[in-house]
């Protein structure tokens, strides 16, 4: 999925969005799976959000708290570091994926272990931690059910919350039969049976593994508390059973105070799984003697976040709490699928976050196509629990892309249209000539095929020939004057 041009990571695909989307669009099984899953989740979300009278106020509060975090990030990070350290945790700082990978690798090597457990984590996927560890001879076992499906199937995640959303039960059964050691060959496609198979497999891992790696939903600057919000309880096992726990946390994941969880633990479950509350919320602070891991490390990851923070429009994307509500309502995501984005972060949030984390490296950078992977329908803006103006940021990134790398011949065409549309006489003359386009329509006045960049339009649509008369020609003529004058007089006559 990703190229390793020096820096490890899963933030850039190998081909542009339209090319990658072609595969998703033509995969009927995936289309069906995604439509079913996203429709179900968005209906659930809509129902639980409608229960709250103060949902808009909660969103505003969530946005305000995250803006405050971004405005005071250096100070809050230092406060967090001090609090974690005071409670016996050890804080590490990583500028990029390679640094983070090296830190985690060294920490695991120091324990002498070669097997580690993982809690579902976007940050570790972003930095390709599993691959970095594998290169060092360390096997990282995913424990989230969906991540397990991905890992056993040698697949890549396609959704922030439900990494295997593109798979159905029959496919999952096949993946388990092919890749899960000791699985019952008579495994059915019943969700309970599939869950039981993974439970049996994972339980042995939990009981024998001494090191676990987690991500983090929220880090509390005030107390140094770290939290993981999940549904299955596998995360809870990982953060309590092993001797050593290593957490990788993006630096934007902070909240100033413990009390701020009040807002986010209402926003996140309702936005992500469509539940009033998620089943498991684990919170831990440093090390507690004789209870849980006795060694706790936290790696604070930048990896492009300060670059995004520097942009006054784009930085709003750093408010994201990874709920995936924007994916579930996005008509483009639903059809193209998450793999088309080439990044750990698919969907609308991925289209604005990924290019900001990586920048545009060239005119053909696949990430340069991501801001254009939207019809700007705006549903994402409405469901975002922290009010990220996603379509505004898409427009800003499109602006940045065409400014840094003006596309040929599009930029020239746009400039020509600007000339035409900002000189009324020129436009008046040009508009008068559109009727010439009628020749394209033939006998039934319908255009069915046009060449070049417009060809995509007529591949699935007919177009009526241009009118004999433009509106401006009609308005200047006698029919318009008689009709409109009479209509107005009629109204006055009535009055």
């Amino acid at each position: 999925m990703s190229t390793f041009l020096g820096m490890p990571g899963h933030l850039r695909g190998v081909e542009s969005f339209p090319r990658a989307a072609h595969r998703g669009l033509t995969n009927a099984t995936q289309r069906h799976n995604l439509t079913h899953a996203t429709t179900t989740i968005r209906d659930k979300r809509a129902a639980v959000v409608a229960e709250l009278d103060d949902w808009q106020e909660l969103r505003a509060a969530g946005s305000a708290i995250k803006r405050d975090v971004l405005a005071r990030l250096p100070e809050l990070l230092e406060q967090f570091e001090a609090a974690v350290t005071a409670r016996g945790g050890i804080v590490h700082w990583a500028r990029d994926a390679a640094e983070a990978g090296a830190i985690v690798t060294d920490l695991i090597r120091a324990t002498g272990e070669t097997e580690v457990l993982k809690v579902k984590s976007m940050a570790t996927q972003e930095i390709a931690l599993n691959e970095q560890l594998a290169a060092a001879g360390i096997h990282a076992q995913e424990t989230d059910l969906a991540e397990l499906i991905i890992q056993l199937g040698h697949d890549t995640p396609s959704h922030i919350l439900v990494p295997a959303i593109h798979r159905n039960r029959a496919e999952i059964r096949d993946i388990f039969l092919a890749g899960m050691p000791g699985v019952d060959p008579d495994l059915s496609t019943e969700p309970a049976d599939l869950a039981e198979a993974s439970r049996v497999f994972l339980r042995t891992q939990f009981l024998r593994t001494r090191v676990a790696i987690s991500g983090c939903n929220f880090g509390i600057a005030e107390t140094g508390t770290v939290s993981v919000v999940e549904s299955e309880g596998n995360g809870r096992m990982c953060v309590t059973l092993p001797q050593t726990l290593i957490t990788v946390m993006g630096i934007e994941k902070l909240l100033p105070t413990y009390r701020d969880l009040e807002v986010f633990l209402q926003l996140l479950p309702r936005s992500s799984t469509g539940e009033r509350m998620n089943p498991y919320t684990s919170l831990w602070t440093g090390v507690t003697p004789d209870d849980g891991p006795q060694e706790f490390h936290i790696v604070l990851l930048d990896n492009g976040r300060t670059r995004a923070l520097a942009d006054s429009v784009g930085r709003e994307a750093l408010k994201c709490i990874r709920c995936s509500a924007c994916l579930n309502v996005c008509p483009v995501y639903e059809r193209a699928g998450g793999h088309a984005y080439g990044s750990t972060y698919p969907g609308p949030i991925g289209a604005i976050l990924t290019p900001q984390l990586t920048g545009f490296e060239s005119a053909d950078d696949p990430n340069g196509s991501l801001p254009f992977a939207s019809s700007l329908c705006g549903r994402c803006n409405e469901v975002c629990p922290v009010e990220i103006p996603i379509t505004d940021i898409l427009l800003e990134l499109r602006h940045r892309k065409v400014t840094e790398y003006p596309p040929v011949p599009e930029a020239t065409m746009m400039q020509t249209l600007t000339q035409l549309w900002s000189h009324p006489r020129l436009w008046n003359a040009a508009a008068g000539m559109v009727a010439l386009g009628r020749v394209l329509g033939g006998r039934d006045h319908t255009i069915t095929s046009v060449p070049g960049f417009l060809g995509g339009w007529t591949s699935v649509r007919d177009v009526a020939v241009p009118p004999k008369q433009t509106f401006r020609q009609w308005f200047a003529g006698s029919e318009a004057q008689h009709l409109l004058t009479a209509a107005r007089r009629g109204a006055e006559g009535e009055a």
Partner: protein, 261 residues
Amino acid sequence: MRVGLFATCIGDVMFPDAVKATALVISRLGHEVVFPTEQSCCGQMHVNTGYQREAVPLVRTYTDAFADPALDCVVIPSGSCTAAVREHHVRLAERYGDPALADGARRVSTKSYDLAEFLIDLAGVEDVGAFFPHRVTYHASCHSLRFLRVGDRPYRLLQAVADIDLVPLPNREECCGFGGTFSLKNAETSAAMVADKARHVSETAAEYVTAGDASCLMNIGGALARQRAGVRALHLAEILASTRAHPWSPTSAAYTKEFML
């Protein structure tokens, strides 16, 4: 009222009948329609494709065309063009224009309204005296629904039309897949979206699908025509301009009709 009419570039040269109908509906309510010929395009395509600097001369053209303080308002028969004017013009002028343009854009953009907004909020009518004895479904375009937040205004206007058989569109919140240059840059995804929209339109067994945006209708109607689905796309204004005295048909109306799919 003296009402400035912004035809929009696509309405002017591709779908003049929708603009004629808009002018007629406004005139029937007793208002004067003014069409400044200096107008051209709102700049939406430029902004949505990333060309913010290149959009500034278009903001100036629009602002100048409708600067006359004697115009009480500007009416636009397009939700997305109205949204472009109201959401982007001042921002563009402030960023890449000059303070005078920003000032002018603020004055003109705040008096710019989508047709449904104008009829209900400014003219104060729901029943414009229309007659349309056909089965119709309404597509709430994304810009009307989520950016302008016109709410149920277009629906109220349609409900007041005599003899109309108005049927709800399944999955009404979903985009038709047009998205301006999105439909060219991501043509396959756009095709998948409009296929679903066309299917939902067909499910209603309507004869016409209507909307307040010629561009969405060009997309949905174009796909329906290609599929030989037997449903026509028709601008809201044309339904509102159809009366018992001058009933609309695909080939005749109170005004000279152009060919339609």
